[in-house]
Symmetry: C2
Subunit: 189 residues, 2 copies
């Protein structure tokens, strides 16, 4: 069942009783998104964080010149939201859409904070996940400042092995910051 | 007293009894760094996270071509470490040094995790701080991909108001990713 995948993921980091697991599941909402459907539009409030059961989401922003910049991919077992909007309840800077038919479970910030009071282990789980996300985000920042496109592509392959052959080339190119033509050359090397 | 600044900072986010505050303080180590002195060298393990009482630290990496890339400044009341090394106990990718004479309190990962078990509120404090750091890091990532140098300089001024007139221009230039000459032109506008 789809909820099993989430509970297994949580139990990789903390121990959880059956009652606690049931309580968490009772606060989640299951949603199915069609390919290209949006979970969040820039300017909306991100009230929820989403856990991907199957498929793949991405978060991205569009700059003044209309160029898309991809911040994150979320294949199965990844969490995704506009963190700024989620924790501040202000307007999201990012949009989130589905790159293929995708099944997710969402948890609202209100329910998350309430669960943190009731199940301290869950706050630990999200503390650990947030630490890992911070490491990944800072590492990508340094990569963008200091690595060559080839090295950034290699990092992408390490971070998202399941996506190398499933995503359209133009999306991977937008993530590492090169043109699709240049990525095609890189892959031939 | 220097410990008051830290306890005040923690109490902005969570409530803490006197006994809990004393227990936290007992796990901290006070260190004074001279200007240009290193707290951490790339390749070492970051066993500690540092809270700045006065002065300013920075974390940075040096790329294959010898260029320095500044990831973070930490003026008073900021925490800083190589998060990757701190949570994984692997070799740090970053170095951390003092930009002026600086007084810090350090907390080891071992003591931090032990305190999380004893004082759940402290885990909440660090969960909140890590969420905020993640928002800042992702925002900078998007900025580097999509903003002009002028807009990145404006963001720097918002993020680090206390540093605009205290840091050498070349450090601010290295942070926003322009030459010192170009930054000088930006400031005249």
């Amino acid at each position: 069942m789809s909820t099993d995948l989430l509970l297994q993921n949580i139990r990789k980091h903390i121990s959880l009783t059956g009652v606690e697991g049931d309580k968490i599941i009772s606060k989640l909402k299951k949603i199915t998104l069609k390919k290209k459907q949006f979970l969040l539009h820039e300017g909306q409030i991100a009230h929820e964080v989403a856990f991907v059961i199957s498929g793949c989401l991405r978060s991205f922003s569009v700059d003044e010149n209309g160029f898309e910049h991809i911040l994150q991919f979320a294949p199965a077992e990844w969490w995704i939201t506009d963190m700024y909007s989620f924790i501040s309840e202000k307007e999201a800077h990012l949009s989130i859409d589905a790159l293929m038919d995708t099944e997710i479970m969402t948890l609202s910030r209100k329910n998350q904070l309430q669960l943190f009071d009731e199940i301290p282990g869950l706050e630990r789980y999200f503390r650990i996940l947030t630490e890992n996300s911070l490491v990944a985000s800072r590492s990508r920042l340094i990569d963008n400042l200091s690595l060559t496109a080839k090295q950034r592509y290699q990092k992408f392959c390490t971070t998202y092995p399941s996506l190398i052959n499933t995503l359209p080339q133009k999306l991977i190119a937008a993530y590492i910051g090169v043109t699709p033509e240049f990525l095609s050359k890189l892959r031939k090397l």
